[in-house]
Symmetry: C2
Subunit: 478 residues, 2 copies
């Protein structure tokens, strides 16, 4: 007998987007709050999404010769302080270890907020010759930044990420690495997460503390707010000099290597929720979905139904898909709602009549489209439907992005567009941080990036009217 279990409701995104987001995080069982303020727990379903992201990204990093390492999690304050800009940027939000066992430490140790300093310290001891370059390292770990306000995935005191750190013989090679990794992130967002991005350079004000240049992939969420997707930094030889990282060059002289770093975090899960989710819950792009296909037997007590459903499961698993069957005694309505909440991209239904007709029903999560297929074509059809989910998600997100980019020619107009329509506001900009500050104060927007794809909207800065040669994107960001 079917047990009637209540389907958990979430807030509609049109009513309260922030609450809708938090509801999904909890109801889809992605995260839980921990008893430590500002810290979160990644639950099995949330962590499985992260594992899929990790596996795909790690594979891409390795294809281009990167190797994983593990650096110590604690950084002595003196080491952190060697590069002035970095420490100014991160020291105010470090967690500090001051006691080890029963001893008070002579020097306090920061829980890593980022590991440039540790990598440089290591390289200063192991690098000798240009022959050892480049060193292309990456690590998967958690970092702490003592944020005041936190939200699951988007901003939490501890978050999980990868941080790539590389050193190169020449500035050109380091710049090429910075670009390559930015493109790696852009591809991951567009081809795996189905989220279109705007690639560009951060302003001096918004760049990473200590970097010479920061590049970013910026995405747009369903509420038309901006989200910084991932960043790639070029450091020149600034850190090398600060930390005494040297090598003997081809000319037999001591030289400083050129450095990059690049990072992406569990906030990508937040991006997926807000780029694709709907009022029924999460919608996952197939490649990162812990369950790609859920099989629901219809009238499962009838003879032959469970066997037929199990057979479909076996076939899809053998075809390399992540598939599960739910033959619990919950109602069909509850099951459908449950797997919609969890964002499973494809649902397969099979009941007595389907079996009779040698068919089953495939239902796409993203648009609810149903397709009746012959059982013989199951594997092919399921894969084709998953591709359609991927394509559908990307196209919808692309339209959302394209329809929410507005040119503006004054701060006032920019403000009005943001308030009335939302999205990215594009203007010309003179390059002065004062104008950036003005946009922030008067229109509530931060600069998102100077897009690589430039347009000439006018000759003058929207903020001050002085000559301007660059177009910049503004937005209200997460």
């Amino acid at each position: 007998m079917a047990k009637e279990k209540k389907v958990e409701q979430i807030t509609d995104m049109e009513v309260d987007f922030a609450q809708w987001y938090t509801d999904i995080c909890r109801k889809a069982e992605l995260v839980e709050y921990a008893s430590v303020k500002g810290f979160t727990i990644l639950r099995p379903y949330g962590y499985a999404i992260w594992e899929n992201m990790q596996r795909i990204m790690d594979g891409e990093f390795k294809k281009t010769g990167h190797q994983n390492v593990a650096m110590p999690v604690l950084i002595p304050e003196s080491l952190l302080k060697k590069e002035g800009e970095l420490v100014n940027g991160f020291a105010p939000e470090c967690a500090w270890v001051t006691q080890g066992g029963s001893e008070e430490l002579e020097e306090r140790l920061a829980f890593r907020p980022t590991s440039e300093t540790m990598f440089c310290d290591h390289w200063s001891r192991v690098l000798h010759s240009y022959r050892e370059l480049p060193m292309l390292y990456n690590q998967w770990c958690s970092v702490i930044r003592w944020e005041k306000t936190t939200r699951p995935f988007l901003r939490s005191r501890e978050f999980w990420w990868q941080e790539g750190h590389t050193i190169h013989e020449t500035a050109e090679e380091a710049m090429a690495e910075t670009e390559q990794q930015l493109n790696c992130y852009a591809d991951f967002y567009e081809k795996v997460l189905a989220i279109p991005v705007v690639k560009g350079r951060k302003t001096e004000k918004e760049k990473f503390a200590g970097a010479e240049a920061t590049y970013t992939v910026e995405c747009m969420m369903k509420d038309h707010k901006a989200l910084q997707g991932a960043t790639s930094h070029y450091f020149g030889d600034k850190f090398s000099r600060a930390y005494g990282v040297t090598f003997t060059g081809r000319d037999n002289k001591l030289q400083y290597p050129f450095q990059t770093s690049w990072g992406s975090t569990t906030r990508m899960i937040g991006a997926v929720i807000m780029a694709h989710g709907d009022n029924n819950g999460l919608v996952l792009p197939p490649q990162i979905a812990p369950i790609q296909v859920i099989i629901l037997p219809v009238a499962q007590h009838k003879p032959g139904v469970l066997e037929a459903a199990s057979a479909l499961k076996e076939r899809l698993a053998a075809a390399g898909l992540r598939v599960q069957m739910d033959d619990s005694d919950n109602s069909m309505g509850w099951k459908c709602a449950q797997y919609e909440m969890k964002g499973v991209p494809l649902r397969v239904e099979i009941g007595p009549r389907d079996i009779e007709n040698g068919q089953c029903v495939l239902v796409r999560r993203n648009d609810g489209e149903k397709t009746v297929i012959r059982l013989a074509e199951l594997e092919e059809a399921a894969k084709a439907q998953l591709e359609l989910v991927q394509k559908g998600l990307y196209e919808k997100a692309k339209i959302n992005l394209e329809e929410h980019c507005w040119p503006a020619f004054s701060v006032e107009e920019a403000k009005k567009l943001q308030e009335e329509k939302g999205g990215f506001i594009k203007t010309m900009w003179c390059g002065d941080v004062a104008c950036e500050q003005k946009m922030k104060e008067e229109a509530g927007m931060s600069s998102r990036c100077l897009p690589f794809e430039q347009e000439k909207l006018s000759d003058v800065c929207a903020c001050c009217g002085r000559p301007a040669g660059k177009m910049i994107f503004w937005g209200v960001a997460y």
Copy 2:
């Protein structure tokens, strides 16, 4: 022209085993010391070994239904203190965060030394019904224990590990899980790491703080010292009660679940070094070797050699092996020594004469055995040789273990055997901790375990002469 590069020498293990060990850790580029006292860096080669271990173990854990999660790294002192034995065991070696950003924290936070407390805290909030049990969780992370003396992999203030944490409806199910995971570790040691183990139960004195029972796999190193390989703990409902973890049982009453935890760490890399290494360096079991086959072209400047060597590489890679070719201008002697140091299980040499004869040479790392094979049988032969490496390593380690287990009937005799022959000393034991203390003080040995495979050596305790029904293993442990 071949550049003569000096082959780095390591200390012979017969001269100074500890120095030999440290030399391998450094010269095989597994680890580096960090500038933070007691902390180490896992370098690419060392980390790649860990990644292979992780991938294999993680696959095994998932086969039995375990799911990965991520818990916060910082634990409030009050939470840590809820279970008295655990806090007594771990508080003295915790690293404490006392400042977050610019604020002094009201309560200090421990960097996790182990996460039972966080898992229990989480379960106390998410567990409701017996239908949700068991919860089979695992996490891969680093932990800190503020050790006074440290050695790479074996004892360091930060180390990397997995910690499994599960809760079950009944005590029987939790006990079965504890055993299953102990067997999982034993299989990993024996079938993957090629290290035979002794399975058994820890004494009350040596068990995990707060556990009802701790089970262990104990290994023997080449210097005949013991190394605790991994442990699996049964907690009963002790932590559930302390942390208020409850569920509604089948009888509709509130009940406490039964709990286990089990862990294995990067010390497994230390175990591999000391179980298989020799005076030429590391010797890696094939399944965890970052490079399983190294191809060295002989007289590589001669026409056709590099092409032939590359072809072998492509074929072995296509056959699923992790293979590299070294066509650098270093000398053949240097290359051989280098890949021996790094423990690459199989070397393939191919030169002009081999090409003429349609053959190549396979050299096993563990025993230096050379086999000339037909090029046509390369894939099959390489795989067969790797299996022989695995088998050879296991058999040699098994003999080392079996030939260094000595029965003793008094503390004095035990002491003498340990000093003269080393290894595991087995005696009958009455179960009294005073006798354990005596063996420690007078013979310098700790109890390793009460092996599952018992023998009856006599009727009385070797320490006190009182009646004794159990055989125990003693050893000098890492």
